[in-house]
């Protein structure tokens, strides 16, 4: 990278300002860019911004240029002297693969690096480049290939890193809850095996360590049979799992049959899996090594950069001071009243905002009015206008968030959905919203105090709603506030004296 990269920014003295017509709600912003955006007041020069950003110079410039590229920021060229932006190229860390958290205990080491915006922290590359049969002897590969899918050794071991068999596998929560005679543990295993049949090696399929011992193998197979043999489900309702259980067991018997009748297949397969695991472990080790090295390199480079930055800033300040002294007389002659300029600017933003309000662009209007308030905080008219508009804006924003959350919920990303919902009710605490998210939090057993608060908001807004009271009562009971729960249920019962659910809840409470 060279100075040409920052040509869009112009000169050090130019002033960046926010583009009033840009829609910040939909803009793609990383933390650095967002931070810079808050620093822009339309008066400070690029040089000032960089100095106050606390970032490494080139990072700040890169972020700024990205903002210009996104059309979120406009550059107002300075009228006086313009020093072209040019800094010498600094070495960048090696390009890294798709960011993934390193597998083990590296998170803490990561923290200090990501605390301040700066050079990207090194990430551990994901070891997923192992092709099929990686590390397996060529002879075994050919032999096994001829065996069709029974000889298939997946390139990646499943979750050799974690202790949990299911790792990051996402379960269909709906399927886990639907009524049938399988236990949840059985359902998890069924869904897992069904979805990953092709990715698991035969040992993983039977949930055992690869081992040459025939007894171990049989034990695992017997355990597997106890779980999936059709006799286990004789006269039981397997619901939608029936077909899956059958096909899983069929695959199991086929593998077991092949392994118990074909000694050579067993030997070669075992050898292949062990070789693959060894290769994988090796690759993982190498990746970890590279990761550590990159971390050390970056730290060293960063230190060097910091020293260089400090020297350069000092030099520039010195030269600016010298120049200002030289132009002192001219500067004094120019009538320059920053206060007036701010008021004018505030007025402009206010007018923009009101126009946007009339166009029913509430979010944009709110943004403009906020800017107007920032420039002229003493103007009461701006504040009133802002309050009026921001309510509408929040409602719209809340609706958007709610829709987004609903989308997440429908694809079973429950936790993320709850986050979105919470965001939405923070902006606009409608009772129906509050109740929905509180119910979800109760069922997921998540931050129940917050859930209680939401249920209370709903019930305060609509004190005669029995459902709300019932929910609030349940949440109180769950968090252990039995007295409160009792009071709430009492109120509910007064409203609906015949409701069995309330009576049941009260009974449960007494117990």
């Amino acid at each position: 990278m060279s100075g040409a990269e920052f040509s869009k920014l112009g000169a050090w003295e130019d002033r960046p300002r926010r583009n009033p017509s840009a829609d910040l709600t939909t803009a793609q912003l990383d933390s650095r860019r967002a931070f810079l955006l808050t620093r822009l007041d339309g008066v400070a020069s690029i040089s000032d911004i960089v100095a106050i950003s606390g970032m490494i110079e080139r990072d700040a410039l890169a972020a700024l240029s990205a903002l210009v590229e996104q059309d979120l920021v406009q550059i107002v060229p300075a009228t006086g002297r313009r020093t072209p932006i040019a800094i010498e190229a600094a070495p960048m860390p090696v390009a890294v693969a798709e960011p993934v958290a390193p597998p083990e205990d590296d998170e803490e080491e990561d923290e200090p690096l990501s605390e301040r915006p700066g050079e990207p922290a090194p990430v551990m590359e994901r070891v997923d480049f192992l092709p099929d049969f990686h590390g397996v002897a060529r002879d075994d590969v050919h032999w096994l290939r001829a065996k069709g899918d029974l000889g298939h050794v997946p390139g990646m071991p499943w979750q050799r890193l974690g202790t949990d068999r299911y790792g990051k596998f996402e379960f269909d929560r709906r399927a886990l809850l639907r009524p049938c005679d399988l236990t949840v543990a059985q359902r998890r295993e069924v869904l897992f095996l069904e979805a990953n049949a092709g990715q698991l090696d035969h040992f993983e399929y039977f949930n055992m360590e690869p081992t040459a011992d025939r007894t171990e193998w049989r034990r695992a197979y017997f355990r597997f049979s106890r779980q999936f043999h059709p006799d286990t489900f004789f006269r039981k309702n397997t619901g939608e799992f029936g077909g899956m259980v059958e096909s899983i067991y069929r695959r199991g018997t086929r593998i077991h049959d092949a392994f118990s009748t074909d000694q050579e297949l067993r030997d070669r397969y075992l050898r292949a899996v062990q070789a693959r695991d060894a290769a994988y472990r090796g690759a993982l080790e190498a990746a970890r090594e590279r990761y550590e090295q990159a971390k050390r390199d970056i730290e060293a480079r960063r230190e060097a950069q910091r020293v260089a930055d400090r020297q350069r800033v000092a030099a520039r300040r010195k030269s600016a001071l010298r120049e200002r002294l030289a132009n002192n007389t001219r500067a004094r002659r120019e009538v320059h009243n920053p206060a007036n300029e701010r008021v004018e600017r505030a007025q402009r933003f206010y007018e923009d905002g009101m126009q946007q309000y009339r166009d029913e662009k509430f979010i944009e209007a709110a943004a403009s009015l906020q800017l107007a308030m920032t420039y002229d905080p003493r103007n009461e008219a701006y504040r009133q206008a802002y309050e009026k508009v921001s309510e509408r804006a929040h409602a719209i924003k809340a609706d958007q968030l709610w829709k987004f959350g609903y989308m997440q919920e429908s694809v079973a990303r429950i936790d993320e959905a709850i986050d979105s919902y919470l965001e939405a009710v923070k902006l606009s605490p409608r009772p129906s919203y509050c109740v929905h998210v509180a119910e979800m939090m109760l069922s997921m057993d998540r931050d129940l105090h917050r859930a209680a608060e939401l249920a209370r908001i709903a019930s305060d807004a609509d004190p005669r709603n029995v459902e709300y009271l019932l929910l609030l009562g349940k949440i109180y009971e769950r968090v252990g506030l039995t007295v409160k729960a009792a009071t709430v249920l009492e109120r509910a019962l007064k409203l609906a004296p015949k409701d069995e659910r309330i009576k049941k809840a009260q009974k449960g409470l007494k117990r």
Binding site: R218, H229, P230, T253, S260
Partner: protein
Amino acid sequence: MERIIGIDLGTTNSCVAIVEGGTPVVLANKGGYKTTPSVVAISENGKRLVGHIAKRQAVTNAANTVYAAKRLMGRRWDSPAVRTMIETVPYTIVKGQGDDCRIKLRDRIYSVPEISSIILQEMRLVAEEYTGEKIEKAVITVPAYFNDSQRQATKDAGRIAGLDVVRIINEPTAAALAYGYGREVDKTVAVYDLGGGTFDISILRIADGVFEVLATAGDTFLGGEDFDGRIIMDWLVLEFARDNQIDLRKDKMALQRLRDAAEKAKCELSTAREAEINLPFIISTGGADALHLQKTLTREKLEELTVDLVERTIKICKKTVEEAGEPVDEVLLVGGMTRMPLVQRRVREFFGRQPGKNVHPDEVVALGAAIQGSALMQDQQQVLLLDVTPMSLGIMIVGGLFSVLIHANTTVPTSKAHIFTTVRDNQTSVKILVLQGEHEQASKNDLLGEFILTGLRAAPAGEVEIEVAFDINADGIVSVSARDLETGQEQAITVTATSGLSEDEIKKMMAENQEYLVDVRTNEALERKRLDARRAHSEVERIFPRVRELLAGSDFGDDAIRKAEGVLNRARKAIDGNDMEALQTASEALTRTLNMFKGVVEKIG
């Protein structure tokens, strides 16, 4: 809870068991025997006879007494096994519509499943008698080496008997279940099952309550009947013919007597060194003279006559042990024939260990069936049986060869697919012949079904690929599909084994049986009532003289005595008659009278 009984439907004897409070028990029939002969006869007056009664009258009614019907189960009329049977049995075997065998008794023709259903029915009644409940579900055992149609015929027999056959399991497996049930076993067990008609050897691995069949093989036409046959045909008949120039085989009654005598002698020789065979008036010589048969059979002679049969079983054992590929820890002997010292000696020699003594050879199979039945009903199963397909399954390929897709001894359910190609240029259709058996020539194996896949692309030989997939479910039902990998076109069949009976026939037989069952049940109830009434009657009569003495003279007394006499008269009539209601009333009246009498005796006397 519904109960499932276990029935060992044997060639010569059958046995029924049930699990009671976690313990499997064998149920004794009315005669007090734990096994019932698998013999069915139709008496002169058209009455159905089963079990011991049927066996006892066999000599006088040989042509209408069926034994060893199991050997005909699911067999085709033209099979060599049936040919042999026709020559040796006294009853008449005829050809059925579906190319199956039927049996002619008196003026009616019975199918083989029907005969078996009569035996199953009897076993069911034994169980109902014992439990006092209606029994509707059963696990029935069959020899491990029974093929699909033999199994289907057994199922049909169960249906005709009004039983829902929840599972058909293999006899040796059942024996192993009974052996391993309720205790910690971690062993490889060989079950040597030599019964009346069939021989089976199975090797199982038992651990953690799971029973896995490692290998199984057998011969469905090798059993006690063949040992008897050797004594009769190769020795008694031969010797008699040499001495008297008369062929005893021509006389059905003589044949039946020989059969009984041979079986008896064989059983005696399990403990004794010699057995006497004494059959006076075995045959008449045309005039008034009659010839007698008197011989002594020694154990040595018996062993000489049958040693090749025993060797045949050992040969099969050897192959099976090799296939199982694991050292055998324990040997179980099942079936009456394993009482023969020669058999025990050869088994001991072959396996190099003393066979286990803690299973009852006649009862263990039924016990195992009952255990499997009760295991299926439980939520947490103590035992889990991993049964296997006894024979290889595959299709016919070019050159009339048999290409195996699912090997024998694979745990069911399972599925397997394989890709085949066309063999001729521009071949647009393929015929898939589904076969079962072990011979490499397709024609030597059993044909289960066939279908044709058409619409293939005309291409040079070997270019079009067809995937053939086999699937066996837990009930052993086989389905086969063939798919053109290029066009995705698919054809499939579910192989339905047939016993030779059509669905209509089975339905008809079920209905007939239902009527019979109602008759039997009412008869039994009637008999019970009659017995009660008779008991009360004799009790009243016993104390009547004493009461008469005590009450005589008083008005009240005379009246009471007259009334009592009336009750006794009516009761006598009811006991002689067949009216259920009259019996009931008489019984009640008798009880009242008895109580009154007892009161009188106590107060006055």
